[in-house]
């Protein structure tokens, strides 16, 4: 196989995390060593930090069509999801113990749901179609009189399916009106969507929404939960009375300021950047399907039902981890749904929920584009990818057709 003289670093794993934007880093910097005060303190240094957090809260709220007091800062997306799900369940359990969700949710949603199941909650996982999409009607059918929460991801991290959140929101409103109730509450994990989609909480009719910084060119370890006014949730972290007693802990001022800046930039350029990255996605898929035989696109067609930066492809007869290792040697970074990279030794629960066979899931590779990628990156990738696939297919005994090995004498 040809080897490049200089190995380029091609980062195609933006759904895992993004680099911090320089503009974001710049606004964060003063809050580490200069404006380091505790926002709860009365003196100037504390007030300065407090005012920075208030500003960030206002910025984020405005972008979501929410009120500043609806925004609760957390230490990341997982915490926001845990807080929403466990917080709602514990606060509203007397009204019902049924929750509706999807089996393709992120583990930060699935695991807290599993915990609640142990506490006696009943969870309905509405099935998705082969593209990973659910219909609003299917969700509506799953809602019962004792359903207190519906939690559906805005967009899927593995194959980019964008769920019909606004439609589901409308179905929930209909149910509430018909049954004269405030239930079920509606939560969405919007971590993957925040960089590309409109997150207006009024248009999408959500009551709770999670976002994090590490996926939108902001800092890792900081996120937020939008909670509609009037929705009570029990805190999951106890301590000082920060965030109106809903999330204890001294505020991460630099992180919060960075999250707001990152969200502002992402939302301002989402249309333009979505269009640009969708072209890259289309171009890469065209190249792969033309140059490499026996491949399959996983998830929705590249279009409105799919995150613009996501390409998930199965390369038949080979295993994803082996491909990742090869690509890493060439400086190409992406991810796989194969069992071999998971601790569970099970292939991706998302691809399995879409009805994909184990062998197809094992050979899946996810490329997710970001701001720094350009067409030249695809050129570099496609210089080596076909040869990598050929090499691994030659080692594999699962080849079909003319190249099938004689296993029997």
């Amino acid at each position: 196989m040809p080897r490049p003289k200089t190995i380029k670093k091609i980062y195609l794993d933006h759904a895992a995390t993004t680099p911090v934007d320089k503009r974001v880093l710049a606004v964060m910097k003063p809050y580490f060593s200069e404006k380091f005060g505790n926002p709860s303190a009365l003196y100037g240094l504390g007030r300065e930090a407090k005012s920075a957090i208030d500003g960030a809260r206002k910025t984020i709220a405005a972008l979501m069509h929410a009120l500043p007091e609806n925004v609760i800062f957390t230490a990341g997306g997982s915490e926001a999801n845990n807080m929403a799900i466990i917080g709602v369940a514990r606060s509203h359990a007397s009204k019902g113990k049924h929750i509706v969700s999807l089996s393709i949710e992120h583990h930060a949603v699935l695991r807290p749901l599993e915990e609640l199941a142990k506490e006696g909650f009943e969870i309905t996982y509405v099935p998705v179609d082969k593209n990973g999409l659910v219909s609003a009607e299917a969700i509506a059918r799953a809602i019962r009189k004792d359903t207190i929460l519906v939690t559906i991801m805005f967009a899927n991290n593995e194959m980019g399916a964008i769920e019909p959140i606004a439609d589901i929101g409308r179905e929930i409103l209909k149910f509430r009106k018909a049954n004269n109730t405030i239930y079920p509450l509606f939560h969405t994990d919007a971590c993957q969507a925040a960089g590309y989609l409109d997150l207006d909480v009024e248009k999408s009719h959500v009551d709770l929404m999670s976002i994090n910084g590490g996926k939108i060119y902001g800092p890792k370890g900081v996120g937020m939960l939008y909670i509609r006014r009037g929705v009570n949730i029990k805190p999951i972290i106890f301590g000082g009375g920060q965030e109106k007693n809903r999330r204890a802990g001294t505020e991460n001022t630099a992180g919060i300021v960075g999250l707001a800046e990152a969200f502002k930039i992402a939302q301002a350029q989402k249309e333009k950047e979505s269009a640009r990255e969708r072209e890259l996605t289309k171009y890469l898929w065209k190249q792969i399907s033309e140059k490499i035989p026996d491949t399959k696109l996983n998830g929705p067609e590249i279009g409105d039902a799919r995150l613009p930066n996501n390409l998930n492809v199965t390369f038949m007869n080979i295993e994803g981890e082996a491909m990742l290792l090869y690509m890493d040697e060439y400086g190409i970074m992406c991810s796989t749904g194969s069992a071999c990279t998971s601790d569970s030794l099970e292939p991706s629960h998302v691809l399995r929920a879409m009805g994909m066979s184990y062998e197809m899931a094992h050979g899946s590779i996810r490329f997710t584009f970001g701001r720094s990628n350009a067409k030249a990156d695809i050129g570099y990738l496609m210089k080596y990818l076909p040869a990598i696939v050929t090499t691994l297919r030659e080692i594999s005994p699962v080849n079909s057709g003319a190249k099938h090995a004689r296993y029997k004498k």
Binding site: N317, L325, C340, L345, I395, S396, P397, V398, R406, K409
Partner: protein, 223 residues
């Protein structure tokens, strides 16, 4: 592919000298990028062998085929080829095993039957804990191939059978249960489930069960 980029070291250090994260030892890396003795395209038409074995399935994440050329007089493995579907550790383990059985004029088949996953692991310089399961197919494929040799040469008494072991803890299925189910006509994992009147096996034990079904089917009904 990178040629002899790395000198051999004994540890399974997860970090390379450049400080970058690498899950595998340098030996694993070398065997992954430059696999030895695998069956190349078109080579299967030319390669002479008198035994072959196949274990695993892509559904379990690993599948392996091995071809052996055994000298009937000396019972030494003169040459071998393999193909593996699996992750980096699976590919590297098969490659290193092929080296072990071929070196020093070829290993005697009785010795080859004694190769354990531990031997392969040691030779590889270790694997990260959660990757060890990826290396357990090599010796099984080798045993399957040697059994194939015993069958084709009419030495049925020498066919190697490992002792009873539980393959699914929840369902309490042992390899002997599977052997009996196969003897009663089971050919697939579903047949075995029906025969033994048990529910669906856990995905992690499916692999082992499927493999045993195939193994016993080959043993009793293979030609």
């Amino acid at each position: 592919m990178p040629k002899k980029i790395i000198k051999k070291t004994k540890t399974a250090d997860v970090r390379g000298k450049d400080g970058q994260s690498w899950l595998y030892s340098d030996i694993v890396k070398e065997h992954f990028f430059n696999p030895k003795n695998f069956m190349r395209y078109e080579e299967e038409k030319k390669f002479k062998f008198n035994a072959s074995g196949r274990v695993g399935s892509p559904a379990c994440g690993d599948e392996m085929v091995i071809w052996l050329q055994i000298n009937p007089k000396t019972e030494k493995i003169k040459d071998c080829r393999w193909r593996t579907f699996g992750c980096g550790s699976a590919i590297a383990s098969t490659s290193v095993m092929s080296e072990m059985i071929k070196e020093k004029g070829g290993m005697k088949i009785d010795d080859a039957l004694k190769i354990t996953p531990k031997d392969i692991l040691e030779r590889l310089g270790g694997l990260p804990d959660r990757k060890i399961h990826c290396s357990v197919l090599g010796d099984k494929a080798l045993q399957a191939a040697i059994n194939d040799y015993f069958r084709s040469t009419g030495q049925h008494k020498r066919i190697f059978v490992s002792g009873a072991k539980v393959v699914d803890k929840d369902l309490n299925i042992t390899d002997h249960d599977i052997e009996e189910a196969v003897l009663e006509g089971a050919q697939t994992i579903e047949d075995v489930q029906k025969k033994l009147k048990v529910g669906a096996a856990k995905p992690e034990s499916r692999a082992a069960i499927e493999e045993l079904v195939r193994y016993y089917f080959e043993k009793y009904f293979g030609n």
